[in-house]
Symmetry: C2
Subunit: 91 residues, 2 copies
Amino acid sequence: MGLQDTLRALADPIRRDILSLLKTGPLSAGDICSHFSVTAAAISRHLSVLKEADLIRDHREGKFIYYELNTSVLEEIMFWITELKGDRDDA
Amino acid sequence: MGLQDTLRALADPIRRDILSLLKTGPLSAGDICSHFSVTAAAISRHLSVLKEADLIRDHREGKFIYYELNTSVLEEIMFWITELKGDRDDA
DNA sequence: TTAACAATTAACTTAATTGTTAATTGAAGT
DNA sequence: ACTTCAATTAACAATTAAGTTAATTGTTAA
């Protein structure tokens, strides 16, 4: 966890697309897979990277595992960028 | 250029530290190197990644090449995050 | 032109990431 | 218990990334 994990997770286009997919609400791993042309195993690993960064949360419902977005850790990036830009009032 | 390059560039702690160093103003490659415990060649490559992402600009002054921060491309990340968080009025 | 210095580029090594297929875990139904 | 389906984990191949040392480019000054 932390800024490093968050940025690393965001540095992959598939992972960003997964997050965008989850914008409208939780989806099962299978649902997510169906949007991509890579194998389920590959998506599963992307999901684990996103989960490690706490960008998504998961919960099982019967056979399905649902993933949902957690945007709270994005605040840290916003803060880092803001301070890099100078935290000035006049911006 | 684009979001992908920007995020990839930010996904490395040394590169983020370089950007932070440049917050106060331009520095030569040598000045930047002196803050890190890796070789000048390694820093030079980090600088080229940052430049490719347009996060820094460089200009030569005699023997020295000075680097300075360019924060404008960070807007794109801010926008992407904001829209991911839902662009709602109530936030 | 040669020497000295700043910085980059080249060549190479090692470690990390991404993808594949095959095997495994977990839950539901027969 | 056995099968089936959803999803993950394991094992491996291929690519990318980051670091090193050595060689090269560019600039200044003798």
